[in-house]
């Protein structure tokens, strides 16, 4: 079946006459219908299902009981509203080709809106349906309006049991791709329907029933030893059947349990995966803490280095100053690294730190010390110079410093 076009009249969202032409060119043979929600994509699909099979609802509407029987309102509500109290007809015409034949099927339904706003549609068995077929030679058959014959024609092309697997909309694809038991059941049902397995099982059951009917007939008509044997066979057959039933039930239970095991295993795997992630998270947190500690150490190190290195800005100048101070020291123009007050105190106490008295009995030592005081603690070369010299020397030390630059 290859669709050619769809003509809709007052069907669902499609007010008035609307036509959808399906691409059928050799190289451009895909038609995509897209649009926002409620714009009629599923409406087109409904139109197709209504026209071909008389469906007034889709499986995704999930209607049950009387609601399913009544179906949805398929007539355009604006048209109904414009004609309150009057009958309105909605119709769908589908043109398609199949095995060289060109076919068109139309189906229409009527309904009206009552004054209180309720909508009444005619029952589905009163839908007007018509089929016209033009064969490969161009001969057109008379219009077929018998609903059963039209149904048989469509069933032959695509059985209503299989249509859900060939004709479906995006919402159904979404449902089919869900990884749930519902989806699996649906796929399983589809495969069974495609392979005719249900019919096959039914045929087997029918044949078994037929065989047991014949067996019964034989046992009724037979006498003597044959009767006993046939009765025994019937008894064994019954036993076999009950064993098979039990086996089938056990297999179903086994399948259910296997399925449950898989589900539980997946659940456990999920927990294991979570536990692994939790362990990883803790690991990462500890790594972050370590890095933060390292960062703190590096920051303080950096601050120290910056402190130590600030003098580098004036490295050349400080170098020159140190050289000058060294020169002066060599000339004896710098005070020694002994405080003046300390030397003065020794002279005042008349006692050296080595225990030598500095009184008149040792005037040579005392004079020498007085001379040292006069020479090395000259005005202008005070204690500040001494401190500066000492600092510059430290900077010039091995830890890092002007001399390196």
């Amino acid at each position: 079946m290859q669709l050619t076009n769809l003509e809709l009249k007052d069907f669902r969202q499609f007010k008035g006459q609307q036509k959808l032409i399906i691409a059928d060119e050799q190289k451009k043979n895909v038609t995509v219908v897209y649009g926002k929600n409620g714009r009629g994509k599923t409406g087109i699909f409904r139109a197709l299902m209504f026209c071909l099979y008389g469906d007034r609802s889709l499986s995704q509407d999930e209607l049950t009981g009387q609601d399913k029987k009544n179906g949805l309102n398929l007539i355009n509500e604006r048209t109904l509203n414009d004609n309150v109290g009057h009958e309105v007809t909605a119709s769908v015409l589908v043109h398609f080709s199949h095995q060289g034949k060109r076919c068109s099927i139309s189906r229409e339904l009527t309904g009206l809106m009552k004054n209180d706003g309720t909508i009444v549609q005619n029952p589905s068995d009163q839908d007007q349906v018509a089929l016209q077929v033009t064969d490969i030679d161009g001969n057109t058959s008379p219009k077929e309006t018998d609903p059963d014959k039209v149904k048989a024609f469509i069933q032959e092309i695509l059985s209503s049991r299989l249509r859900d697997y060939f004709l479906f909309d995006g919402e159904r694809i979404e449902r089919l791709t869900r990884g749930t038991r519902e989806r699996r059941d649906e796929v399983r049902k589809g495969i069974r329907a495609l392979l005719n397995l249900d019919a096959m099982e039914l045929a087997i059951k029918g044949l078994k029933k037929l065989a047991s009917g014949y067996d019964k007939e034989i046992s009724e008509k037979s006498t003597g030893r044959l009767q006993r044997v046939t009765e025994q066979i019937a008894q064994y057959n019954e036993e076999i059947e009950s064993f098979e039933d039990a086996l089938e039930k056990d297999n179903a239970e086994l399948k259910r349990l296997k399925h449950r095991i898989i589900e539980l295993s997946k659940e456990i795997e999920g927990h294991e995966a979570t536990a692994e992630k939790e362990r990883l998270r803790k690991d990462l947190i500890s790594q972050v803490n370590d890095k933060q500690d390292a960062l703190t150490v590096l920051k303080s190190d950096m601050a120290e280095k910056v402190n130590q290195s600030s003098h580098l800005l004036a490295a050349d100048l400080l170098e020159q100053l140190l050289e000058e101070l060294n020169l002066r020291r060599d000339k004896g123009q710098l005070p020694p690294e002994i405080r003046k007050e300390f030397v003065e105190k020794l002279l005042a106490n008349e006692m050296c730190i080595c225990g030598t008295p500095l009184d008149d009995t040792h005037s040579r030592e005392r004079d020498s010390l007085q001379k040292f005081l006069a020479e090395h603690y000259a005005p202008g070369l005070g204690q500040e110079t001494l401190t500066l010299y000492s600092t510059l020397n430290k900077l010039s030390g091995p830890s890092g410093t002007c001399r390196r630059f």
Binding site: R161, L195, N196, L197, D198, A199, M200, L202, A203, I204, K205, G206, L207, K209, L210, G213
Partner: protein, 68 residues
């Protein structure tokens, strides 16, 4: 890749003409009965297939006679 057989293909491979005809009939009637109610499905298949058995046996006898 091996050919994918339909159930019908498999049934057509049954060599005994009587069994083949019964199996074909059973399947055809089962497909028809799929939309029936649960109660009448098997009964329908059994009844409809039962009708074909005399014909199937006759077919087998004719085939056997032709072969000999």
């Amino acid at each position: 890749m091996a050919d994918i057989n339909t159930v019908e293909d498999i049934i057509n491979q049954i060599s005994d003409p009587a069994k083949r005809l019964v199996a074909q009939t059973a399947l055809t009637q089962s497909i028809k009965a799929m939309d029936f109610s649960e109660h009448s499905r098997i009964r329908f298949v059994a009844d409809e297939t039962g009708k074909i058995i005399p014909k199937a046996l006759k077919q087998r006898a004719t085939d056997a006679a032709n072969k000999s």
